[in-house]
């Protein structure tokens, strides 16, 4: 069970075929964006009450019902499932993302209100997992959205999930879980990556019929 906080300095993955050259990240260190003062006090309440929205396309969704219900009971940490992105603080991307569903995840993430955190679940959003050579599945979610925490494993067990939530809570308390600020600062960079990959979902054959 290996847990890893989001990369402090954003190492550009040149080996990844999704990577686009041209625009540089403006702010690479999360220490520049750290919460201070009053925000640190509010962060205490934020970490104690995290409402999550799970984006269930992958197999990671299977691990969440036992995490939520009697056996592991994540509600004791104040974490509960929510129905819509407007109400949620956490977005869980539970597994692989096809290019089409990436678009929906981006919509969902942008609909959420600050402060918000994104958790990448399992190995698929990290490096593609078993879909590493698929033409429809993205390999690195971190190129399109700022990941605050990755929980590795295929799939992570409920213990690993709860351990991950606790790691995120520590990050929030220290004021270092600031992916949403990084997204705002580097929006141009993220947008360029998103556009480049989403262009691939455009139909090859244009029938000329306007829908």
């Amino acid at each position: 069970m290996v847990l890893e906080m989001a990369h402090g300095t954003f190492a550009c993955a040149t080996f990844n075929r999704d990577f686009i050259r041209g625009v540089d990240m403006l702010i690479t260190s999360r220490n520049d964006l750290r919460d201070n003062g009053w925000e640190r006090i509010l962060n205490y309440f934020r970490k104690k009450s995290m409402w999550m929205l799970h984006y269930c396309t992958g197999c990671g969704a299977m691990e969440l019902p036992p995490t939520m219900t009697s056996r592991w009971d994540m509600e004791r940490f104040g974490i509960g499932p929510m129905a819509t992105p407007r109400q949620a603080d956490l977005l869980l991307v539970t597994g692989y993302l096809s290019i089409k569903s990436l678009k929906r995840v981006i919509y969902t993430y942008e609909q959420m209100q600050d402060p918000k955190w994104l958790i990448a679940f399992g190995s698929c959003p990290l490096n593609g997992g078993i879909y590493y050579d698929s033409y429809t599945v993205i390999n690195r979610l971190a190129l399109y959205l700022p990941i605050d925490l990755s929980i590795e494993g295929c799939m992570p067990r409920p213990e690993a999930v709860i351990n991950g939530f606790n790691t995120l809570m520590k990050g929030i308390e220290k004021g270092t879980a600031v992916g949403y600020k990084k997204y705002k600062e580097n929006y141009e960079w993220y947008k360029k990556n998103q556009d480049a990959i989403l262009n691939r979902t455009k139909p090859v054959f244009d029938s000329g019929v306007k829908s």
Binding site: T69, M82, P115
Partner: protein
Amino acid sequence: MIVLKYIAFALTSIIVGLLFMGLGRKYSARIHRRYGPPFWQSYLDVIKLFSKTSISHHWVMDFGIMMGLAGILATIAFLPIGPFHLFNSMNGNIIIMLYFMTIGYLGMAMGVSASGNPNSAIGIARALTLMLGYEIPFVIVVISLIFINKSSLLSVMVANQAGGFLHWNMIRYPLGFIAAEMALQGMLGEKPFDAMIAPSEIASGPMVELSGKMMGLGFLQHAAQIFLETAIITSLFLGGSSNVWIFFLKMFVLYLVSLSINAVSARFKFENAVKWFWKWPMALSLAQLLIVIL
């Protein structure tokens, strides 16, 4: 002076309501054999919600959400809380309270309809339809109590129940109490009458578009609503109390009964729920009215 007293009333209703919600979550968790959140979880949730950014789709949305909370808090002004009350001449006028309570729902309806999300429109339509269901039996029960006490003041009804357990309206008019208890389940929006919330069907209904501070106001409204509705039933049937703590305890017992039913029930379709309300609580309340009048 009366303004300060009113502020104390409003704050008490919210703080006690949130405490009830927190203890209720712990209680439900124990029924599910979970550990459950700490009982102060609701306070943390509210503070967190107010620390978030929020998005509004229309000025009517802001206005409606605030009107929802204001309607419930305005009703609290007429509520006798244990020995305390605001207005001597209207010490718990139940007719005014029933009118004012509706303002809260209508404000919520206006606010969430302005958000433009179809799910919230469906949710609030269900909530208002369900209100049609439970208000009628509840009003019939209230009419029979007004008939008995020759007064619409809660304080008079409480005074007439003085003198021990056997004088409570709960014991003297059991059919009416059961009908009111069923109506309370609908008022609180607990299962089996939570079709308006239904997170898995219509994505939490009225709350779909509420984010951050709006959701916080909605949370406070729900807390005040729990306080108000259990307090009304306590005054009507459980003999009220001249001690605030015993009054809160009676309210909390009512809330726990409601939560116990909630924890083991499935959800009614809302049209079935309305039919159910017009059949069983209605029959019980009409029977009670007949017994009282004849």
